[in-house]
């Protein structure tokens, strides 16, 4: 089992390295003179020269890659062309703000999705099941900005004006100092992800409930509650963990749209600004960060999958 986990770890490291390569290579796609592309047509030759120097654009490509990679390892993500400050400084506070959204949505949607999915699976074919399945199918189809706008109309502006539709905190103030402004962004992300977890949990549980060992447990006269907790649920955890991880990692992407919609000062908002400003180093830093989160979460899910697989676990027990 440990060898499997180590192997999985090695793959993650290799993928992460390829990701850095890809993120770096993307900058080579900048059309023409990158410094001019970044600074615009009106830039003076001095500024262009200064930027070239600052970006090390005169050095050969591999040199630039190594320098940049070295910077990433030492926590130096470069300089923001727009703000002229270090990228790390720009992102510092924003990472925390985004994490609040991610963790909030992750906790609620996981708990909600697992509960709804199990409930639905246990009542297969009844009205509850059809309602849950139907609703999750509809909500799962909606892009996050559609859900966000719908929530704003319902809970902020038109129907029930309860929650603010934009982030009110002035720059510098931590977002969690006014919890009410977190409600709609977290709710939006939760609604985006919960249907998938619900559907996956329902499907996995249905499959497990139809399995030979669950039927056997029932035919042994074991009380239904024990059948579910001891014989069914443990087998659903492995496969569902992977889906949850994929969903949570996906939140890292969905957060971009949601932050933009609610003008929320997180890294998603920063990414949009950076793309608009062609602030290359900031874009690189944020995409790398999100990809990193993505890889780590998937890694954890795979390890959970390996550890909950009795065949692999038993090999260690012996």
């Amino acid at each position: 089992m440990f060898r499997l986990i180590l192997r999985r770890l090695a793959i993650s490291v290799a993928v992460l390295w390829l990701v850095t390569l890809l993120v770096f290579v993307a900058t080579l796609l900048l059309p023409g003179d990158p410094a001019r592309a970044i600074l615009g047509q009106q830039a003076t030759p001095e500024r262009i020269a200064a930027l070239n120097d600052q970006l090390g654009l005169d050095a050969p490509v591999w040199q630039r890659y190594l320098d940049w990679l070295g910077g990433v390892f030492t926590g130096d993500l470069g300089t923001s062309a727009a703000s002229q400050g270090p990228v790390t400084e720009l992102l510092g506070g924003r990472i925390g703000a985004s994490l609040v959204l991610l963790v909030g949505a992750a906790v609620i949607s996981t708990a909600g999705g697992l509960a709804l999915g199990t409930w639905s699976a246990l009542r297969r074919g009844r009205a509850v099941d059809h309602t849950v399945s139907g609703l999750s199918l509809v909500v799962a189809a909606l892009p996050e900005f559609v859900i966000g706008v719908a929530l704003i109309v319902l809970l902020s502006t038109t129907v029930l004006p309860v929650f603010p539709s934009v982030t009110l905190a002035p720059p510098g103030e931590p977002v969690w100092s006014r919890p009410i402004q977190l409600v709609l962004p977290i709710l939006t992300l939760t609604l985006v992800v919960t249907p998938y977890i619900t559907r996956m949990m329902r499907a996995t549980m249905s499959e497990v409930l139809d399995s030979g060992y669950v039927e056997m447990a029932r035919l042994k006269g074991i009380p239904e509650r024990v059948v579910i907790t001891r014989h069914a649920v443990p087998h659903a955890i492995g496969p569902v963990a992977q889906v949850i991880a994929i969903q949570l990692a996906w939140l890292a992407g969905g957060v971009v749209v949601v932050e933009f919609l609610f003008r929320y000062p997180g890294i998603g908002q920063a990414l949009i600004d950076a793309v608009n400003n062609r602030d290359v180093e900031v874009v690189q830093a944020i995409t790398l960060l999100i990809a990193g989160v993505y890889i780590v979460v998937n890694l954890i899910a795979d390890i959970v999958g390996i550890m909950t697989n009795p065949k692999l676990r038993a090999e260690v027990a012996r």
Partner: protein, 293 residues
């Protein structure tokens, strides 16, 4: 053996489900609006998409005016076609690329398999939207780039499904038989494997189309997709949301259209998945957002 296994085509079985009929109706309505809208709109309202129709954010006409005083309803009718075309192209690109790579990886196994799958792991490490933003940051919000980048990021996700389905049939005896008759690999893939994995591929088609619509609209909404002054649903939402309270139609019409369209395609997709797995509603939900990640 039930004697009634005579199977009509997957599509027909899927469309016999009530939810597929609802889905098809919803989709057809929105696609109809998007396709006919650009021709009918100006004739119906007397305005064109960019012309000045009245004071900004005022009621008047069917759905009022937007921030630049353009007629919202005309723009709404014209705002779906580009989105739809981009989404369909991106889906087609992703599906073809993914199916070919996935079938090759699954059937060949060994080194080619590892190469293709590790390569797609790298692409899978980016949320699709983030990857698109990375590309747009470097090259700019070009139409072809949207199609390319969304299609390319679909490919590894489709490839996973195609590979899995291929692996499931590749050791079936009928494939062995074909190998025994020295059928070339390309023909085995095309004639023996492909017809047996159309189920999952059809499901992917629906799923990818739903997501493509979402991504193109999201990017436009972020101001990084389809560019002004084009009339586009995603863009309209962004342009008009500051006036949501006074003139909600500029936001609500495109939001509704996108919602109805994606719900419609997703209902059809789910019916396909049910029909492909042979049972109604017990099959695995088509790949979760795994997928959309």
């Amino acid at each position: 053996m039930t004697a009634t296994t005579t199977q009509p085509t997957l599509l027909r079985r899927a469309l016999s489900l009530p939810q597929a009929k609802i889905g098809l109706t919803l989709t057809v309505v929105v696609v109809g609006v998007a396709v006919l809208g650009p021709w009918v709109g100006p004739w119906l309202t007397g305005h064109d998409t960019t012309g000045f129709a009245g004071k900004p954010f005022q009621p008047g006409g069917i759905a009022g005016t937007d921030g630049l005083g353009r007629d919202v309803f005309t723009r709404f009718l014209s705002g779906g076609l580009t989105l739809l075309v981009y989404a369909v192209l991106a889906t087609a690109l992703g599906l073809v690329l993914g199916a070919v790579l996935g079938m090759l990886a699954g059937y060949s196994g060994g080194r080619l398999d590892s190469l293709i799958m590790r390569g797609s792991d790298v692409l899978l490490s980016f949320p699709q939207l983030v990857f698109a933003l990375l590309a747009i940051a470097m090259i700019g919000p070009e139409g072809w780039l949207l199609v390319l980048v969304i299609g390319v990021t679909h490919a590894p996700r489709v490839a996973r499904v195609a590979r899995q389905a291929t692996v499931a049939v590749k050791d079936a005896d009928f494939i062995r038989a074909a190998r025994m008759y020295a059928m070339p690999r390309r023909r085995i893939l095309l004639r023996e494997v492909l017809p047996n994995i159309t189920g999952p591929l059809m499901v992917e088609l629906g799923l990818r189309l739903t997501y493509s619509i979402g991504y193109v609209a999201s990017l436009s909404f972020l101001g990084l997709g389809i560019q002004p002054p084009t009339a586009d649903w995603g863009l309209m939402i962004n342009e008009n949301r500051i006036a949501l309270v006074v003139e909600p139609w500029g936001v609500l019409l495109p939001v509704l259209a996108i919602a109805v369209l994606t719900v419609g395609t997703n209902l059809i997709t789910d019916s396909l998945a049910s029909a492909a797995s042979g049972t109604s509603n017990t099959g695995k939900p088509n790949t979760a957002k795994e997928a959309s990640a």
